[in-house]
Symmetry: C2
Subunit: 297 residues, 2 copies
C-alpha cells in the first residue's frame, strides 16, 4: 500500500464525505466521524436522500440511540417512531424500492469523464487469490466490498457487503426500505445476513472508535433506556458544505489497481514472521479498502 | 433454542469458568466478565496453565493493556516485556509447541464418564445446511466453532475459530507459543488468519461489553500510551475457587443436538418478516453457540 503509485489512489469527492460531529466526550475531547458515501450507481437514491438531510441540517441535535454489542451503533431521531413527536423530514426524499438493494452488473468499464479513473457503472473485480465465502463470489467493485448474485434469468447483480464500519439505512418491516434518516454502522462481526435486505450507503473512514466504543445500550436490541445515556449529535454535514479550510480530504486505493491486488494477496497469505501457517484465503471483510487522509488543497 | 430439551443443554464445569473482575467503571458500577475455558483435548496445555495462573492469583492488580479497534482487547502484565520489572510467573507452567495449535480428529464419539454428554475426544459436527467458508469446512465440535484441515498424510485436525468474543493466548514471534499469562479477546470481525497460528483457550460468555466498549488505545497496535488509560484487573478466579454461593453457573446448547441444528438453520435462513432474501448460509461466527445462566445450586 505504501508503494502504490499516485495514480492508484482516487480522491474522494467532498460531496461523498459526511462529517458527523458528536458532542465532546467526558474529558471534553472533540469527537468527529467521517463517512464516505457510495458513489452511484450503488444505493444512489438513499445516498441522495442523505445529502438532502445533511443540507437541511436535519440530524443536528439528534442522537446515537442504540449500541448493540457485536452488531450496530445507530443514530437518528429518538422520537422517530412517535408520529406526534418525531422531527419532520425535509421535502423531496425519494422512496426507494427493495429492487434498489441490488445493482445490475454492466460488464463494461467506462472511464469517468473527470479522468480520475472512477467508473460510471459497476464491474466486479475478482481479485485473485481470494476465495469465495458462504454467499458465493464476493469481491470488490469501484472501491467497495460487494456480493454478487445471478437471478433466474441470468441477470447479474451486486450488493454491498455488511463489513465492519459499513453504514446502512435503518428501516421498518418490508416493504419499507428506509429513507436514510436513521443510519447505523457495523461494530462487530459482519452481519452478512443483512446483505441485499437493507441499503448500505457508505463506510466510516475516520473516527470509528467514537461509535464502536460507546457504552452498549441495555434495552432490547441495544437501545438506550434513558435519554441521558444517549450521545448527542452536534451536526452532520457534507464536506462540500464546510468552509474549504475545514474540508477533510481522503483518498482510497483503487480496488482495480495492481497494488490493491498485491495488498489483498498479502492479507490472504500473511508472510511476516509472526505467522506459521498462512491461511491462503481471506474473507472480504478482512481486506479493508485502504483509505488515507491527504493534506488540504 | 427456547424449546430445546433439558438434556440438550450441558452444564459448564466450575473448573471451566474464569471470573474476571475489573475495577468499577467511572460511575462506580461493578464490571465482571465470565470466560468459558475450552475442555480437553483442545488447547489443553494452555488451559491448564491458565488454571494455574488463576489459582496463584497471578493477574490480580494487572491490567487491560491494549484495545485495538476491530481487533482485540488484551490483558496481562504491562511490564511483561521488561525482564527487570515483569511479575514473576508461577512455577509449573507448561511450554506448548506449535503442533498443539491443532487437535487430531478422532472419528469416534465416546460418552463422557460423568454422563453429561461431553466427549473425551473431538468429533466435528458438520451441521447442515451451513456452507464452507474461505478456509474449508468449518463447523462445530464439542460446543465450539472450529476449522478443519487435512495434512499431506491424510491426518485430520481441528482448530478453534477466532470468532467474536473468543479468548486467545498472546505470544511473541514463532516458535514462542505463549504461556497463557497474556490473554486477548476478539472485539471485531473475526481475524481468521490467526486460526492455527495462535492458541485459543475459551470465550467470553458474560460481560463482553466491559471489554469491547473500552476506549481504544492510541499507541501502535492499540496499546495504551500511559498507565492512567489502563483498566485494572481486581482479580481473575476459577469459579471453582469461589465460595459456592458466588459461583456463577452456565450451560451451553450442545452443538450435536437437534435443537442446535434447527437454530443454525434458522441463522442461515432468516424467516422473520424483516428479511426479504434469506442468505441460505451463514458464517460459523454468525452462529454463536447459545449459552444461558442458570440458578445457583
Amino acid at each position: 500500500v505504501e508503494n502504490a503509485r499516485p495514480e492508484e489512489w482516487h480522491a474522494i469527492a467532498a460531496n461523498d464525505l459526511l462529517v458527523m460531529t458528536l458532542t465532546p466526550d467526558g474529558q471534553g475531547r472533540p469527537r468527529r466521524v467521517v463517512i464516505q458515501l457510495m458513489p452511484a450507481p450503488i444505493s444512489a437514491g438513499w445516498v441522495e436522500n442523505i445529502r438532502l438531510l445533511a443540507r437541511a441540517h436535519w440530524w443536528d441535535g439528534l442522537a446515537v440511540v442504540r449500541v448493540q454489542d457485536n452488531y450496530v451503533t445507530q443514530w437518528g431521531d429518538p422520537d422517530g417512531e412517535d408520529a406526534a413527536r418525531a422531527r419532520a423530514l425535509p421535502a423531496g426524499l425519494r422512496v426507494m424500492t427493495e429492487a434498489d438493494y441490488l445493482t445490475p452488473v454492466i460488464r463494461r468499464v467506462l472511464n469517468h469523464p473527470d479522468g480520475q479513473g472512477q467508473y460510471n457503472n459497476v464491474e466486479p473485480n475478482y481479485t485473485e487469490p481470494l476465495r469465495n465465502n458462504s454467499f458465493g463470489p464476493v469481491q470488490f467493485a469501484n472501491g467497495w466490498p460487494v456480493g454478487h448474485m445471478t437471478d433466474s434469468t441470468g441477470a447479474e447483480f451486486l450488493y454491498p457487503a455488511h463489513c465492519y464500519g459499513m453504514v446502512g439505512v435503518g428501516r421498518n418491516l418490508s416493504p419499507d426500505t428506509g429513507s436514510g434518516a436513521e443510519l447505523y454502522t457495523v461494530i462487530g462481526h459482519a452481519p452478512r445476513h443483512l446483505d441485499a435486505n437493507i441499503a448500505l450507503v457508505g463506510r466510516v473512514i475516520d473516527g470509528m472508535p467514537h461509535l464502536s466504543s460507546l457504552p452498549r445500550g441495555t434495552g432490547p436490541l441495544g437501545f438506550y433506556e434513558t435519554p441521558a445515556e444517549r450521545t448527542l449529535i452536534s451536526s452532520i454535514r457534507l464536506a462540500s458544505e464546510l468552509p474549504a479550510a475545514e474540508q477533510p480530504r481522503f483518498e482510497y486505493l483503487s480496488t482495480d489497481s495492481q497494488s490493491f491486488g498485491l495488498y489483498a494477496d498479502a492479507r490472504a497469505n500473511r508472510r511476516d514472521p509472526f505467522f506459521i501457517r498462512p491461511a491462503g484465503g481471506a474473507d472480504v471483510c478482512n481486506i479493508p479498502v485502504p483509505v488515507r487522509r491527504v493534506a488540504a488543497r
